[in-house]
C-alpha cells in the first residue's frame, strides 16, 4: 500500500441558502483519502454525508450554495476551478455512484449511450471503440449478457442491474477517486453484498481511492479501511476500522455501534440514543452539537468550542465529553 494522498479536504464548510439566509450543512471538515484505500463516512440521515460528497463533485447550484476551505485533489484546489476545468475532472478522475439507481439513469436513453456519454467528453476513442468499451465495462461489473443490456432502457433492468450500470459509468474512465453515496441502500440484502464486493474489487484493480458513504455499520466493517463518523455536519470521530470498532470513544460512535443488532447477544435489545439530528436552521451555534442528546452529561464536561483530539496515531475524537463515558468496549460479533 502506498501512502499517496489523493484527496485532501481542509476546513471545508458548505452552506445552503434557506429563506434568504445561509445555513451550514457541513462545518470545518478535515479528511484525507489515499490511493488503495476505502474511507467510510458514517452517520444518521441528515448529518451532511451527501452534502460532503456533492461538494467534492461540485454539483451544487452556486446561486444557493457557498463552500469555504479547500478540496485539494491531486494537487489542485477543486473549489477554485471553473466549470470547464471541473468538467475535465468529473467523470474522468473522480467517478460518482448514486444512491437511487432508478432515478440516476436517464429513462429515455439506452444503457449503451449512457455509458458512452462519459467517454465522449474524456476520451479520443472512436464510436466503435466506445461501444466496445461499454460492453467490456458491462462485463466487468458482472452483467451476464452485455450486448442485450446495452440495447435496453433503464426501466427494463432490475435495481441491482441498474446499480451495476451506474458503477460501469462511474469507472468508465478509470477514475482515481470513486465516491459512492449509499450505493446499496436501495437494494436488497443479497444484492447489497454483491455490489460492495464489486466496488472493493474495482478499487483494488484500479488502485483507486474510495469514499464510501453509508449509515450501515455492517457495510463499514465489511468494506472500509478508514472511518469518519459524522454528526450534525461535523466529524466527531475518525480512525481506522480497528480503532473505531475496538475502541470507540465518542458517545455518538458508541451509540451507533450499540445500535447494531447483535446476532450473538443474549438479549435482542437494540441500543438507540434518543433524539434526532437537528435541522440546519436549528443547529446550535456554539458548543457541542451532540450535547442535547446526552443531557445527563454535565455541561462542564463539554468544551466551549469542541476541537478534535488526537489520541493515537490516526485516531481522533471531538470534544472532551467522551471522557465521561465508561461503556464496555466494542460489542462482540462485529467483523473487523
Amino acid at each position: 500500500m502506498s501512502d499517496q494522498t489523493l484527496l485532501n479536504i481542509k476546513n471545508l464548510s458548505t452552506s445552503f441558502k434557506i429563506e434568504g439566509e445561509f445555513y451550514e450543512a457541513i462545518s470545518q471538515i478535515n479528511l484525507q483519502v489515499k490511493r488503495d484505500q476505502i474511507l467510510a463516512i458514517v452517520g444518521e440521515s441528515g448529518c451532511g454525508k451527501s452534502t460532503l460528497a456533492t461538494t467534492v463533485m461540485g454539483l451544487h447550484d452556486p446561486a444557493i450554495t457557498k463552500s469555504t476551505g479547500q478540496v485539494v485533489f491531486e494537487g489542485q484546489d477543486l473549489l477554485k476551478m471553473n466549470e470547464v476545468q471541473y468538467n475535465k475532472i468529473r467523470g474522468a478522475k473522480i467517478g460518482m455512484i448514486f444512491q437511487d439507481p432508478l432515478s440516476a439513469l436517464n429513462p429515455l436513453k439506452k444503457i449503451k449511450d449512457q455509458i458512452t456519454e462519459v467517454m465522449d467528453y474524456h476520451t479520443q476513442l472512436t464510436e466503435k471503440q466506445k461501444s466496445e468499451r461499454a460492453l467490456e465495462l458491462l462485463q466487468d461489473v458482472g452483467i451476464d449478457n452485455p450486448q442485450r443490456t446495452a440495447r435496453q432502457f433503464p426501466h427494463e433492468l432490475s435495481g441491482g442491474m441498474r446499480q451495476r450500470v451506474i458503477i460501469a459509468i462511474a469507472i468508465a474512465c478509470k477514475p482515481d477517486l470513486l465516491i459512492a453515496d449509499e450505493p446499496t441502500t436501495a437494494l436488497d440484502v443479497t444484492i447489497q453484498a454483491q455490489i460492495l464486493d464489486l466496488i472493493r474489487k474495482i478499487q483494488q484493480e484500479n488502485h483507486s481511492g474510495v469514499i464510501l458513504i453509508t449509515h450501515d455499520l455492517g457495510v463499514v466493517a465489511q468494506t472500509a479501511d478508514e472511518v469518519a463518523v459524522m454528526y450534525a455536519g461535523q466529524i466527531v470521530e475518525q480512525g481506522t476500522v480497528q480503532q473505531i470498532f475496538e475502541n470507540p470513544l465518542h458517545p455518538y460512535t458508541r451509540s451507533l455501534l450499540r445500535s447494531v443488532p447483535q446476532a450473538d447477544s443474549e438479549n435482542d435489545e437494540l441500543y438507540v440514543i434518543a433524539g434526532n439530528v437537528p435541522s440546519l436552521q436549528q443547529m446550535p451555534k456554539d458548543g457541542d452539537r451532540f450535547a442535547p442528546r446526552i443531557p445527563w452529561v454535565p455541561s462542564s464536561a463539554h468544551e466551549k468550542h469542541p476541537t478534535m483530539h488526537q489520541l493515537s496515531a490516526g485516531h481522533q475524537v471531538r470534544c472532551t465529553c467522551y471522557q465521561n463515558f465508561n461503556f464496555p468496549v466494542a460489542p462482540k460479533g462485529v467483523r473487523q
Binding site: 475532472i89 467523470g91 426501466h155
Partner: protein, 319 residues
C-alpha cells in the same frame, strides 16, 4: 405497438356509433325547424308541415337515424336546407380553409411556445421568466373571444394592419397573389389563436424543464463531466419535449373548438363559421355532419397523441 394501435382503432368504432346517435338526437332536440321564415316569409303552417313531412322529419327518430346512417355509408351527407347544396360539398369547401388556418395557428403556437417554455424553465425566477409567467397567467384569465375581438378591433379596425373578414381578397389574382392574400388573411386570426394556445404548452414545458433540471439523472450527467449546454440539449430539453410531442394530437381538439370563435369573429369561411350559421338556421343535416366530423377528428387526435407518445417514450413503447 401495432397491436395496441389496432386495438385502439377497434375501440373507436363503438365510440363513433355512440357519438353518431348522440349527435343525431341532440340535433333533433333543438327547438325550431329549418323552414319557418326561410322559403317565403309568409308561408303558412300547412306548407311548413308539408315540407317537414316530405323531408321525413315527422318519422320516428330511429327511422330518421337509420336513413341518415344508410345515406352516410353511401357518401351522401344529405342536402343543406339553408344553402340548397350537398352537405359534402359545403363542408369540403370550408374544410380546406379551416385546415390551413389551423395548421398555420399550430405552427405559430409551437414556434412561440417551445422557445418560451424552455427559456422560462432554464432561467427560472429571472426577469424574463417572470414576464413569461405573467403573460401566461393573464392570457389564461382572458376568455378567447375577448382576445379575438380586442385583437380584431386594435389591429384590424384601429391600426388597419390586417383584413377583418374573409379568407382571400376579391381582387387577388395569379398563383402567388392568391397565396399571399390567403396568408395575409390568416395572419391576425392565426397569431391571436397562437397567443392563446401557447399558454398551456409554455406552462407545461416550463415545469417539465424545472423538474428535469433537478432530477437525479441530470446530476449523474453532471458527475460525468458533461458541460451545461450539452446537459440541456441531450438530457433536459430532450426529456421535456417528448411529452409535448404528444400534445400535437390533442391540439387538434383545441384548434377545432377555437375555429368556432375565430371564424365567426373574423367571418372566415371555414367549418367553424358554417357550424355557427347552421345552428341559427336549424340546418340539421349540416349540424349533424359537422359535429360527427369534429367528434371523429377529436378521437383521431387522441389516438394520434397516444401513438406519438408510444413511439417517443420507450417506457410505453415496449408492450
Amino acid at each position: 405497438m401495432w397491436k395496441v394501435i389496432l386495438r385502439r382503432v377497434l375501440i373507436m368504432i363503438p365510440e363513433i356509433i355512440l357519438l353518431s346517435i348522440l349527435v343525431f338526437l341532440l340535433a333533433k332536440m333543438m327547438p325550431g325547424d329549418p323552414f319557418t321564415g326561410s322559403i317565403n316569409p309568409r308561408a303558412g303552417t300547412a306548407e311548413i308541415h308539408h315540407l317537414m313531412r316530405i323531408n321525413g322529419l315527422y318519422d320516428p327518430w330511429y327511422q330518421q337515424y337509420w336513413n341518415w346512417i344508410v345515406h352516410l355509408f353511401h357518401g351522401n351527407l344529405g342536402q343543406s336546407y339553408q344553402y340548397h347544396e350537398s352537405v359534402a360539398n359545403l363542408i369540403g369547401q370550408r374544410a380546406e380553409n379551416t385546415l390551413w388556418l389551423s395548421l398555420f395557428t399550430m405552427v405559430l403556437t409551437y414556434l412561440i411556445a417551445l422557445p418560451m417554455g424552455m427559456y422560462a424553465g432554464r432561467h427560472e425566477g429571472k426577469l424574463p421568466d417572470t414576464i413569461i409567467r405573467i403573460y401566461t397567467y393573464v392570457t389564461y384569465c382572458i376568455p378567447f373571444f375577448v382576445i379575438l375581438v380586442v385583437g380584431l378591433w386594435i389591429f384590424g379596425y384601429v391600426l388597419n394592419w390586417f383584413p377583418t373578414t374573409g379568407s382571400i381578397s376579391a381582387t387577388a389574382s395569379g398563383f402567388s397573389g392568391t397565396i399571399l392574400s390567403r396568408f395575409y388573411h390568416m395572419l391576425l386570426p392565426g397569431l391571436l389563436g397562437a397567443l392563446f394556445s401557447t399558454v398551456n404548452i409554455v406552462q407545461y414545458l416550463r415545469s417539465e424543464v424545472i423538474d428535469a433540471k433537478r432530477s437525479d439523472y441530470v446530476k449523474t450527467a453532471r458527475a460525468k463531466g458533461v458541460p451545461e449546454k450539452a446537459i440541456y440539449r441531450h438530457h433536459i430539453f430532450r426529456n421535456s419535449l417528448l411529452p409535448i410531442a404528444a400534445f400535437g394530437g390533442y391540439s387538434i381538439t383545441g384548434l377545432l373548438n377555437g375555429s368556432i370563435f375565430t371564424e365567426s369573429i373574423f367571418s372566415y369561411p371555414g367549418m367553424g363559421l358554417l357550424f355557427v350559421n347552421s345552428i341559427s338556421y336549424r340546418d340539421y343535416t349540416v349540424i349533424t355532419a359537422l359535429v360527427l366530423l369534429f367528434g371523429i377528428l377529436n378521437l383521431l387526435g387522441t389516438l394520434l397523441s397516444d401513438i406519438i407518445l408510444g413511439i417517443v417514450d420507450p417506457r410505453i413503447r415496449i408492450k
